[in-house]
């Protein structure tokens, strides 16, 4: 029973809507079209126009109206069509969604989920391949999740919808059609904890989203060469479960972190800072980062090399291991 990640998300939304009739979806083209990635396919038919709302073309409106709906007792799940189009909603996300609980001293919860397909590697045009997670992780008051496989996609989405905090839910679009098992009992997945996807003793390799399979591949190759790499999928980018990473680094002494977003100010720098404070004496080599470069996302003909890929991850692991 292998399920594509996109279908697992669809199942997650369907089950969430069945479980709680306050759950409504808002987004561009999510109705009859089922969203440009079909993640909401069939949901309008099943739950009607009132709960699957094809919105006007305005991202501020999507998030802003979701805030109002949440104030009225609903649990809206927004869809932003692509990573690069979230910025018109930034004001509502940063100054309102993230801050309202704090502003109201806990009186007002805004259980809003903002789903965003993210990341590159799909040969797309500009703004369709970006990785904006660091903007959200730097914004207190938000939770930021990013599943890497079908089971986590389902579980984390169910948890996100249940959660009383606003959740930015990043969907690795490159992995939408990757398949994996899905248990829909929906209990699992602590939304704050990282997951060790492959245990190992020589080096800790941390990443999330679409780079998890890349990291796994690199770890597999290194295993053949006699190097045991522990791969950790962060899953939650805010808060970051540094405890799991630190515990791993205490064992391995080496850390490589990979993400597609630009290096400067990315999640990897943050995690490096945390690890070097907590595992200063255990680190046998500098923490290395394999990331998108500090340039705008390039035209797609360049993305294969520009993105962190298996070879770049391998190079960094080599460097760390031979340090």
């Amino acid at each position: 029973m292998s399920t594509a990640l996109a279908h697992a998300l669809n199942a997650g939304l369907r089950d969430a809507m069945k479980a709680d009739d306050k759950v409504v979806l808002i987004g561009q083209d999510i109705g009859q079209l089922g969203g440009v990635f079909r993640v909401t396919d069939g949901l309008r038919k099943e739950f009607g126009e009132d709960r699957v709302i094809t919105s006007p073309l305005g991202e501020a409106g999507i998030v802003g109206s979701a805030i109002g709906l949440a104030m009225a007792g609903y649990r809206p799940v927004c869809e932003i069509q692509f990573d690069g189009f979230v910025f018109p909603a930034m004001n509502q996300i940063v100054t309102q969604l993230a801050k309202y609980r704090h502003r109201s001293e806990g009186a007002v919860s805004l259980p809003v989920v903002v789903r965003i397909p993210v990341g590159g590697g799909i040969g797309a045009i500009e703004h369709h391949s970006e990785s904006p997670e660091a903007y959200f992780a730097h914004t207190p008051g938000l939770r930021v999740l990013c599943p890497s496989d079908s089971q986590d996609a389902y579980d984390l989405l169910r948890q996100a919808v249940r959660c009383d905090d606003p959740v930015i839910f990043l969907e690795p679009k490159r992995s939408y059609w990757a398949k994996g098992g899905v248990d829909r009992s929906g209990g699992a997945a602590d939304i704050e904890s990282a997951r060790i996807v492959r245990p190992g003793g020589d080096l800790t390799l941390v990443t999330y989203g679409a780079l998890v399979p890349v990291a796994m591949k690199a770890a597999g190759i290194l295993a053949e060469e006699g190097r045991s790499v522990e791969v950790i999928d962060l899953r939650s980018l805010s808060p970051i479960d540094d405890a799991t990473v630190v515990a791993s680094v205490r064992r391995t002494g080496r850390l490589v972190i990979a993400h597609e977003a630009a290096r400067t100010g990315g999640i990897a720098g943050e995690l490096t800072a945390r690890v070097q404070t907590q595992a200063f004496y255990e680190l046998e080599a500098p923490v290395l980062r394999v990331t998108g470069y500090d340039t705008p996302y390039p035209p797609s003909r360049l993305e294969e090399d520009w993105l962190p890929n298996v070879d770049r991850v391998l190079d960094a692991c080599d460097l760390s291991l031979t340090h």
Binding site: R51, G58, G61, A72, P88, S104, E105, V108, P239
Partner: protein, 391 residues
């Protein structure tokens, strides 16, 4: 029903309903209470149980103004960091406020002190934000009065979303006055230029939402005169989005009440959004930090002072033609009430609870993540260790 004598509208057919005035630069704002206190008969002014209680409205305006005056004084005394005065806008706010029903919901800017008063929000609670003891200060659900919003325009979309919720709850157009609800959202003339405000218009119109946009055009957005934002009246904006805009004299509490009363009734009945432009004036500086003489003249201000909304209603109430009982006893009692209110504000302000150093940590998320808890512990230890006065 609330809808009064329909006037043939010039707009597209779906907007054909009674409107106070069809918006246009040519039209003077609709008014019924003149500066001398004369109250013109107008069939569009609700009557009977729906009529505005002029004595109560006057009382609210006087007391709300006193809140404003006291707050300015408290700022001068260093008890508040800042205060955005609403002097001159009481007519618009009390008119709108009295048109609300219990289940309606209000989204204010940061200047709706008199609306808060009408809804029974404790005015002491309005001070916390400006004293620096809180970023909010009251529970929005208690009086259906949401928190002040400082980011211009942001609340218009929340209002729209809330109205979407009302529609989904089925609380619109049932005809049951105990059930039907609407949203009243306030905005300034400056807010008309924010993209988000215009998105709110798009959503409200396309989904025919039960929301009333109440724009106090007080002629200024800090130092920017209205001409910086628009060359046509604010009320014209709505027609471009396909819903009616009405233009009322914002210093005429009766007209403001009537317009809002009708717009809310229309919204509750499922008729969709209305935009109300209340033409008024911000007589004090933008906030206590502003220096308005840098950008406008005393004479302009004096001109608007002569159209004071309180003076106008008092002239009517104490005049010969008044139908409302307003004797000396009423005015004397009101003065005493003002005194008591002022005292309560002064003492209430000084005793507003100061948040503990843990507060920001406790309310960032519903459940505190481990990392944030570490930061809190670290911080509380630092605070507990004492300031140290740099050693």
């Amino acid at each position: 029903m609330d809808v009064v004598e329909p006037i043939p509208a010039s707009g597209p057919p779906h907007t054909q309903r009674s409107t106070m005035t069809s918006a246009s630069s040519m039209t003077e704002p609709w008014s019924v209470l003149d500066p001398a206190g004369g109250l013109r008969q107008d069939s569009r002014v609700p009557t009977g149980a729906e009529a505005l209680d002029l004595g109560a409205a006057y009382r609210a305006m006087v007391l709300a103004r006193r809140v404003d005056t006291e707050a300015i004084a408290l700022q001068r005394q260093g008890e508040l960091g800042l205060w955005p005065s609403m002097l001159g806008q009481e007519g618009a706010q009390v008119g709108a406020g009295f048109a609300l029903r219990k289940r309606d919901v209000v989204f204010p800017t940061y200047r709706e002190h008199a609306v808060a008063w009408c809804l029974g929000v404790d005015p002491v609670h309005l001070l916390g934000l400006f004293r620096g003891t809180t970023l909010g200060g009251w529970d929005p659900r208690e009086r259906n009065f949401n928190l002040y919003t400082l980011v211009i325009g942001a609340q218009t979309l929340h209002a729209v979303g809330y109205a979407m919720g009302i529609v989904r709850d089925g609380d619109v157009g049932t005809g049951d006055p105990g059930r039907d609800r609407a949203v009243l959202v306030f905005l300034g003339d400056g807010a008309l230029s924010e993209g988000e405000t215009n998105e709110a218009f798009v959503w409200a119109a396309a989904q025919n939402l039960p929301v009333v946009f109440f724009c106090q055009n007080n002629q200024w957005a800090i130092s920017a005169p209205f001409s910086v934002q628009s060359r046509v009246p604010a009320a014209d904006r709505a027609s471009g989005f396909g819903f009616p805009g009405v233009r009322v004299d914002g210093n005429d509490v009766v007209a403001c009440h009537a317009a809002t009363h009708e717009a809310l009734a229309h919204a509750r009945a499922g008729g969709g959004p209305t935009f109300i432009e209340a033409v008024t004036y911000r007589r004090n500086p933008h906030t206590t930090s502003d220096d308005d003489l840098r950008y406008r003249s005393d004479s302009e201000n004096d001109d608007w002072a002569s159209r004071d909304p309180l003076d106008r209603l008092r002239a009517h109430l104490t005049g010969a033609g008044s139908s409302t009982e307003t004797d000396d006893a009423f005015l004397t009692e009101l003065e005493q009430e003002e005194q008591r209110l002022a005292e309560r504000l002064r003492s209430g302000c000084r005793t507003l609870p100061v948040p503990t150093p843990a507060t920001p940590f406790l309310h960032t998320l519903a459940t505190m993540p481990a990392g944030l808890e570490r930061q809190m512990t670290e911080h509380l230890a630092f605070v507990a260790a004492g300031e140290g006065e740099h050693r």
